[in-house]
Symmetry: C2
Subunit: 302 residues, 2 copies
Amino acid sequence: MAPVRLFTLCALALTVTTAHAAELAPKPTLADVIKASTAADWRPLDPANTVYLELPAGRVVIELAPVFAPRHVANIRTLVREKYFDGLAVIRSQDNWVVQWGDPDETTPKSFGTALASLPGEFTIPLAADRHFTRLPDRDGYAPQVGHSDGMPSARDPKAKQAWLAHCYGMVGVGRDNGADSGNGSALYVVIGHGPRHLDRNITVVGRVVAGMPLLSTVPRGPGAMGFFDKAGQQVPIASVRLADDVAPAERSELEVMRTDSVAFQKAVEAQRNRGGPWTKVAAGYIDLCNAPIPVRDSKQK
Amino acid sequence: MAPVRLFTLCALALTVTTAHAAELAPKPTLADVIKASTAADWRPLDPANTVYLELPAGRVVIELAPVFAPRHVANIRTLVREKYFDGLAVIRSQDNWVVQWGDPDETTPKSFGTALASLPGEFTIPLAADRHFTRLPDRDGYAPQVGHSDGMPSARDPKAKQAWLAHCYGMVGVGRDNGADSGNGSALYVVIGHGPRHLDRNITVVGRVVAGMPLLSTVPRGPGAMGFFDKAGQQVPIASVRLADDVAPAERSELEVMRTDSVAFQKAVEAQRNRGGPWTKVAAGYIDLCNAPIPVRDSKQK
């Protein structure tokens, strides 16, 4: 019964009963939408804003968001170019929360080189600076408006004239101490559980993992408080972190992201928002910001 | 700078600037609420509705929800008592989606014994049957009302007079084929990513993992379609699955769950909904159902 494996939450070799409930009308699935998309619906990653986090198990590709965190992104680029992260480690893995990487040595920390040691928080930006926002159709609990800006889940408050990136699965943020200006991009985390949207506007969010999430999300959880590792042997060493710009073209990950201001993306969202076809019995008629799919593909396989 | 590790998303040894933004008033944290709770705020797990999934790395504890899925829970109890799951495996791990376990042998599947091979879906129950619902204060996108029923995230539609369990992180559901009546509890999955609430009312949800989530959430993702493992060596073998009732008292996990109809639980939710204190700069003023904490503790350590 191989076809069983095609269904979303299929079981194994179970008896298929034909007398099931009435079926919803077939609708394009996410796979259908991707298949029907054209080259204009996709954009390549900008090598100047793409970071490769090289772990023993492979590469994590992070797209930076300079529009939302210009100073932190610039500082991270400096840290990366001066090889700050090389030899550091994944130091924290907390279930349904975050995986974090940075300097494991608290007593004799590595020099930040020419990068700044701290920066004012970039928790929100002026609404006018968020120029490529595409709003989702549904209301949100955490913000007056939500949608996507250049491939990132984002939120807006028109009254406060602010926009910000949202803490969804795979989003990358800047660890900080109590001070809003105590972070600098040297300690970064990625969301690995249900989107902790209550952190929105409290943290500088600098980008999104577009490939390699499993390399971070499956790091064994740390036994210490908040998922920190107790012993050096538990940490995952970072071989290197590089800007794609500084990597030979042949060694780059050739990824494309679906443009979130395209009609194809609207269709991709709708495919999740109101599923059709034989498996679904009740279409949700709603989509949570963090459940909206942001398709990524290998441009060599398109 | 050891105290830095106490903060929610703290960095490492960063310079703490004292001239940061105005602080929010201190408020009880989740830890404060748990510390201030009394014995009456907690309930033990019912051994007749508690399942131990024994994996090589340790035990996963699942609380069943007989009120929401009486027939499936009864069938799962039969499968467990007849040792159906012993020797089966975790066969699927799909990032930001689910980890699933069941029979890896599609060609010569294991007998269900005296358990039923299929059951009508229990996707919703009559509203009147959900007798311990405590509503959350905020609106939800997927349902007219959301809250908690006996320790499980739940949703309700008063007009349709229906209630159901919600697909939040850690919730356990019954894999099925296209037919609403094609599942029987022999293939189970747990949510390991952002809550796929669009599955609500499409799946029989049978319970919640109350301990051991990291043993499932960190299973390396499967390379096959939908995260299925290609080769037997990738699967995680299941040593045994037992009802706590059938395990010697000395070998049981002595866990207690905070009563979700208690004042302490309301305070726990509020601690997440509106954080105070020196770290938080903006309190969310909202809580998503799947972000509400459901505290669990070891009764021996209380």
